[in-house]
Amino acid sequence: MKRQTVLLGLDGATFTVLGPLMRDGVMPFLREFVSSGVSGELESVIPALTPPAWTSLTTGRSPGNHGIFDFFCKESPGSHHIRIATARDVHAETIWSVADRHGLRTIALNFPLMFPPPPINGFVVPGWMPWRQMRLGCHPTDLYDRLKKLPGFNAQELAMDLNPEAKAIQGCAPDEYEEWVSLHIRRERQWFAIVRELMENDPCELTAVVFDGVDRIQHLCWRFLAPGRPLGEAEQRIRERCLEYFRELDGLLAEIVSLAGPEATVVFASDHGFGPQTGTFFVNAWLEARGHLAWASADAPRAAEAQELGIEQLARHAYLLDWTKTRAYAPTPSSNGIHIVPAGPEHPGGVPASEYERFRAELARELRAAADPATGEPIVARVFTRDEVFGGPYKELAPDLTLELRDGGLISILASDVPFRSRHEPSGTHRREGVFMARGPGLECGLRLPGLSILDVAPLLLHTLDLEVPEDMEGRLPAAAFHPSELRRRPVRAAAASAVVEAPAERSEEAFTKEDELKLAQRLRDLGYIE
């Protein structure tokens, strides 16, 4: 194997937390890594959310071009039905597919949107798989049985689904915090064991793994981790447990880098950063109060507390809302997106096409003016139309409006007596500013780089593997990260666009026509999967 690149994903990592941990000796390996490599803030996509962001990182494409905007996707552009997004909804080529086309092998572990697993030469264990189906997500098919033989293997703890995620985001009982952190220490050890098993016995040119405990712990324990906040005795104990997680993670990362060897290029990246959320905007309650949304009955699930975002109610809006009276709604609390209902037989109360632009502009104006009744402060910092942030063939599947709240927080989709509630304690939530760190042959030493985009990571990874960068990748290789002599010796090579994208059709997805089949066959042929 001539070259090896390792991508270590730290879901939700931010220098706001990692910086003090490196400085104070909790993460000595990471501190040494930064001082001997290139680092900088990595700007994520809008929305700064795990599925669209990791997909952008691994494709070099923005959400409007790869088609992933949330954990969920619309059935079709005009539909109000949503379903869990899968790998089949990713409409851009991934770095492992590019590597595969060039005969390179990949280990890809714990990335979202990897089920059904891509048929690459290498190994895949998808992230966000329910544990009972994990076998189905592993590639090749005998991989799961191999994992079961690893000491300490526990599929139930390794996997992650929406129920624990709800706990991370909506809070848990005071006596559950420490166990929550301990669970993630055990999970990271398991992912490490899988990485080590494969790197030692089946090394591949590209190894990529996401450690997602960083995100889960910061959601729940932000107030114990944020610098400069005075803590009581019980809180200090939880903080110590959090520090233990980061100390352990630092050691695991050091071992992976050691396994890769001194000639490997190692890249750390996060999908987004983190910060505090201090209040909750009940968007559907606000829309109801403005006459844009109606519940089908008075029994609609109602929030009693600020931290209730409605994760348990996902996809239920299909029958919780009165479609004869609803013009706009937020279906999920994860992407901060508002969908405008197009008028039609299914939505007699929707917005006619002729009024769409006017309605959207007016709704955006109203949202910008929305204020916390208690303080009078604006709730919404920015409102993006999908034309502004989701340009590309999949724009029609995106929310019509995407909100950036004043505190950077997530919305709630529940009914509520009031449109905004302050939280008693801040929780952690996503920010666009993530982290990037890299070290390897040809890379600068101790350099802090400004202006990095998450879209730049895929071109960089391909270049380190000595592969051409497809010209339809929107990110660009950060040339300043390399010694000038390195780029003279090995300049960036561009390749023709590899991704074949199709605009989503406004039709039933039941029909898989002969034409679809021919297109699929052509696509697979283009990609070298079939002769």
């Binding site: 869990i84 409409h91 991934t94 891509p118 997805e509 029909a511 679809d516 696509r523 990609l527």
Partner: protein, 106 residues
Amino acid sequence: MKASRDEIMADVLGLLRKLADDWEYTGEITPQTRFFSDMGLRSLDVVVLGTAIQEHYNQVFPFVQLFARVGQRAVPDMPVGEWVEFIYEHMQDTSAGPGRAAGGNR
């Protein structure tokens, strides 16, 4: 060629029985076995199983409609047989073999 009800039932039961070994579920799995109250699955499990079935039959099924229907029941649950019937009702007559319908992470 459209698969028959019996063929779909055999495929679905085979899939569930294979996975049940990993869950250490020891109960019998029959057309009457219910996903949630008997097998202890969660809604996300059934969504993932649906994706696996789509892969197997190389077709997209409108499971969202089925889940919305089931979700409105007083006891939101369904037996394996109902799921099989839904798959059979929406199956296209195609000669495509196992593989996948459309789109995809490449």
